[in-house]
Symmetry: C2
């Protein structure tokens, strides 16, 4: 898929870490590398930026942000898996995205619009994050165009990613979407319950089982 | 809905023009106002920016961009209506967005990623646009942070808009989505065929008819 090519071309880090050490330490260097691979960050900008972040852990099951909240923080996920999902009025949940190691998390729409957040982001494993205050980040922009460019590129890739998903859901059969999921999130299916993957693909766990069984025979 | 509030708060222009004169002239001033309402543009930036645009007309039925093409241009729609849609392998079409007066059109994902464009954008009426070369726009960024900020904010609002639609499609019934459509696009349903609206709402024309009839009784 096009975005995957794009990610690889830019050394995009979402899918970089396939094997996660058990005792990974917090590392600002990972965050610097992540940002710098999207858009180059100057040393004096990084000096202002890195002090905005503090370490935070989330236990499995805890939420980074919930629907209805006003988002103020964003996070860089260093270790663990977070799912983003909607919940309808009957309580049914729809997974819309998985965040894995080396990705940004947070209620992006709510941060931008300062309207209540529409989604939930919940840890599916114990997680380690570096968390920053969005307003303090925005306050740095006037003096640091490299940071403004970074945020522009992040917003653009978020848009591209969302459009790619939108096309997949409308135009592709479930088995094809499953292949893309496997390519976009290598080894993720070994790390989380199958029903979360089925929900992401918009199918039932039984349908996912059938696809997996057909693929293993092929 | 939250985005509508956001648009209004920022004097976002998408829904501004409700009555369109028959013989609207091309106007760079409309484009300046549109940009400036999203993020302030300095005079010397505008001087560099406005010369990038040329006037273009599209006849009803013509395409601004087609799937498979590599996007190079973007447009500011001054008069008319353009629909964005996907087409599946059986030729079935899914409307994903309508562009109305005072909005930006173009294969945004393709412009950003430089991968082939996934969607089609087709004039539903005769259209007048101001069209610019994306690469020339990007070349201006190093010298003009106000332009970088404008592009950041546009990308962010595109993302917010897409997430809002995503939530609506997953969580809301068709009659509620129809209400939001009417609010987001005032008077549009009097200007284009009903089957295009049904396709946008993800329902059949018969279902749309039923919703309209129920609403008129209520």
């Amino acid at each position: 898929m096009s975005l995957l090519v794009l990610k690889k071309g830019l050394k995009w880090q979402w899918n970089k870490v396939l094997h996660i050490p058990n005792q990974k330490e917090f590392s600002m260097n990972d965050l610097y590398t992540f940002f710098n691979n999207i858009s180059p960050i100057q040393a004096h900008t990084w000096a202002k930026l890195e002090v905005l972040f503090t370490e935070q852990t989330l236990n499995k099951g805890e939420y980074f942000i919930s629907e209805g909240a006003l988002a103020k923080k964003f996070g860089f996920l260093q270790e663990g898996i977070i799912r983003a999902f909607y919940r309808n009025s009957s309580g049914q949940e729809y997974n819309k995205h998985f965040f894995i190691e080396n990705s940004l998390v947070g209620g992006f729409s709510s941060l931008i619009s300062q309207q209540p957040n529409l989604i939930n982001q919940q840890a599916l494993t114990d997680c380690k994050l570096l968390v920053g205050d969005y307003k303090k980040l925005i306050d740095l922009l006037d003096e640091h165009q490299d940071l403004e460019r970074l945020l522009r590129k992040i917003a653009e890739y978020y848009f591209v990613d969302k459009e790619k998903r939108e096309v997949e859901i409308v135009l592709l059969e479930a088995n094809k979407r499953y292949e893309i999921f496997q390519s976009d999130y290598p080894q993720l299916e070994q790390r989380i319950p199958q029903y979360h993957i089925a929900s992401y693909l918009g199918i039932t766990p039984t349908q996912l089982s059938r696809i997996r069984s057909q693929n293993s025979k092929a």
